[in-house]
Symmetry: C2
Amino acid sequence: MGEDDQRRGGRRGDADATRQALLDAASVLFAERGYERTTVRAIAARAGANQALLFRYFGSKRALFGEVMARNGRQRLLATEPERLLEVALRGLLPDDEDGPCDRSLEAFLRSAGSTDEVGAAGRLLGEEYARALGTLSDADDAALRADLVLAWLLGIGLTRVVVRKEPLAGAVPDDICALVLPAARSLLEGLAPPARPER
Amino acid sequence: MGEDDQRRGGRRGDADATRQALLDAASVLFAERGYERTTVRAIAARAGANQALLFRYFGSKRALFGEVMARNGRQRLLATEPERLLEVALRGLLPDDEDGPCDRSLEAFLRSAGSTDEVGAAGRLLGEEYARALGTLSDADDAALRADLVLAWLLGIGLTRVVVRKEPLAGAVPDDICALVLPAARSLLEGLAPPARPER
């Protein structure tokens, strides 16, 4: 289908379907190959679309990457009850196989967390949505601040593992991290006092 | 004093004194003007040294900045009992005046946290030292992991406030943040949480 056909005959639904196909293709390829080694050409080919459409819909490879990360995060958010969100989000930061292909995507995302470009913007938007969902778990007056502090913890853990690679946190087993972080984060969110000291 | 005098007659003590004067001058100027607006020329002038010495001792402005941040952090570490270190480190991340001149230094430091350059390297080294000091507060088997998790939280809070600027955390009063974070972090460090420890 040529450009002219796109302009004259392409219905809104076609554009949405193409956009969706590009996001799906990008999601698979970024995860398989990492950000750097995924070409715009490969994404377009896998989606059965042309590169011009990719740039028209998303503007740049970085912006497309931001949308993919935001979409994946949002899907996880929508599919998860608030009670389990904290654990699901934390485990999402802790891939079991540290050499897995997702690592470089997470790294690119975390490295962009503070930047003003599209990836950073997508991350901030997603952060807002997670904070809102986590905030519903708390009936404290300062629920929003508590939720931000929990998210800041997740961000810091992700950075320390994936970007800074500080040991022993970088190589720690996800279950061990969850066992330490989740009770502390939950009691912060729920406004509970820290657990009483067990007999030792 | 010319190059030849430096090589022949300069004593080790002179070099140390000049190095120290450059660090002192850089520390003041980075805090007053921020990283970008501080020139190598101004640092050398304030220290009464020449720019060639600055480059000889530190290699680059970025590397000097890394040394300044690491030195300030190390001085705070040495001057603080371990029991108070957590609060002192957290408050160090939370300048009361958010438009204060230190903010941009912290921002530059946090933006470099994951990079492989000298600033990132200084940050990682400092992180090791803080983690070791915090680890002494815990007698848990996994004290080092607990210390890393607490440091990751501080890193995430700093990033969220200074770089991402997410509200309400970015604008929250330091006392309010300390009131939420310190009990949770202390109970994590001291091994009070989680209450049910796996048998070993």
